[in-house]
């Protein structure tokens, strides 16, 4: 038996599906790879738990931007502290910046926005200079073991897609995915230890591809639940465990080809899919690794997917001084036109 409210909800959903055709009903089974877009209202919350003992606090919060893969609208910040938007000069990553003498327990900075995140494949972006994507970050430098491996693996290949496919397969074969750790994404250690999360997989992918002179961009964000796992509303921790990275390599003529090696390893059924396509199960928050925030931070951050705080120039401690959460409300979900 269903109650009256559930009956009405079901009726509304059924009506919506009938009227809109291509929109997915939450009542119907959802195939992740059929979903072409998810439309969500997001509230990103940074909450101060126990304020750092040191004074002069700096807070940087990544701000998602509209691009070919996602549309961000209605961005609004609520903060008890004065804030401003800043943009770092290298990759043009945008952030909310706050400087204050001290924080108070329970201080909350909220960022509201609506995101329409698309399933994507190859994108065309002729504004990007591929040569900028041939420079490894300090964590992606390769050694002779990696170069010898790539030489053997891709001997005789010149086509970027063919080389990438061999590297993609080899990494899935070589590495073991581990979830509950906060990665540093160091290619040489990943190659030897054969274990890691997204940052480890994609750092090594970049190293191997860049060694073959193929430009690779680094995209960083937060993982959303898979479309089939999205609820009407939900929340999750926006920390190093839920941060997610993926990459795109250059195939010429302004075209950038996406891969998500770690997700392909986690979900073998999607191995073919993740070579060339991405699910709408992520929010992109920044590009590049190891950049300097605006204004500059003192510590070293190798990726920028969630709030970073320093007090007196010392990084605050996640889970002790502060935490971040993402609350989402599902507005709509679309599938590819048949």
């Amino acid at each position: 038996m269903i109650n009256r409210r559930e009956f009405l909800e079901l009726l509304l959903l059924t009506s919506g599906y009938t009227l809109l055709g291509s929109r997915l009903s939450l009542a119907s089974p959802i195939q992740d790879i059929e979903v072409s877009e998810v439309d969500l209202n997001i509230t990103y919350v940074t909450e101060i738990l126990k304020p750092p003992k040191r004074s002069n606090v700096d807070i940087w919060i990544p701000v998602p931007q509209t691009d070919q893969e996602q549309e961000i609208t209605g961005l609004k910040v609520e903060s008890p502290l004065p804030y401003r938007f800043t943009t770092e000069p290298v990759w043009k990553n945008r952030m909310v910046y706050i400087n204050t003498e001290r924080l108070n327990p329970g201080d909350r900075i909220l960022m509201h926005y609506r995101i329409k995140r698309k399933a994507t494949g190859v994108i065309v972006d002729r504004q990007r200079d591929p040569s900028r994507y041939l420079e490894p970050s300090e964590w992606e430098k390769w050694d002779e073991k990696i170069s010898a491996f790539v030489d053997k693996l891709t001997a005789g290949d010149d086509n970027p897609v063919e080389i990438a496919r061999k590297v993609y397969n080899a990494l899935i074969e070589r590495l073991r995915y581990i979830h509950e750790v906060c990665g540093r994404g160091v290619s040489t250690i990943t190659f030897e230890e054969k274990v890691g999360r997204c940052d480890e997989y994609h750092a090594l992918f970049r190293s191997m591809m860049m060694y073959r002179k193929i430009p690779v961009s680094w995209e960083q964000g937060m993982a959303l639940p898979y479309p089939s796992e999205l609820k009407k509303e939900g929340q999750f921790e926006a920390d190093c465990i839920n941060a997610h990275s993926w990459v795109r390599f250059y195939i010429g003529d302004g075209r950038w080809f996406p891969v998500d090696v770690s997700e392909a390893d986690r979900r073998p059924a999607l191995k073919e899919f993740y070579f060339g396509r991405l699910l709408p199960d992520r929010i992109k928050l920044s590009n590049g690794r190891g950049f300097t925030l605006a204004p500059p931070q003192r510590g070293i951050i190798n990726t920028f997917a969630y709030t970073y705080i320093e007090a007196g120039g010392i990084p605050a401690i996640y889970g002790h001084n502060y935490r971040n959460r993402i609350h989402y409300k599902l507005i709509d979900m679309r599938r590819e036109k048949q």
Binding site: K53, I178, V186, I189, I241, I314, P315, Y318
Partner: protein, 172 residues
Amino acid sequence: MKALERHILFSLCSFLFLYLLLSASVAFSGEGVKVGEPVPTFVLIDDKGKPRDFGELIDRPTIIYFTHNSCWYCEQIIHELKRAEAKFGKKNLRIIGINVMATDEELVKAYKEELDFTFPMFAGNREDVLRTYRINYVPVLVFIDAKRIVRKVVGHYIHEPELFKTIREISK
């Protein structure tokens, strides 16, 4: 003028000495940490800014705990380590922290103060240390017996029963 030259010479010698001290690795010549082999140790900066060979502290069953400031799971482990020390006794168990984000004493000191981390802690953001211990993520716990032999390396969150069981194993 001579006093100034002497001062510069003394400063250079002090710097060189400190550099050599920090670069030295003790009792280790292999490629990295390995189970069944002697533990590699280093001279690192402690929370007071002093270079110190953390190997000198490995005089009993020991856990070297690698962490950094962005790891929430790691904070939970600190509570487990404190309970472990209370259970097994300070004389029977040594716990050493290495913060892989820290390049100097400032971050180590702040970390210890914020989290009431009562164990010795060192600044571990050094290429040789990270490569030797193969730290590509945290938490990592290295379990060492009283003979300074590495018995187990745990590269993920550890639950208390597993922690206590492993301490019993290195205490045999």
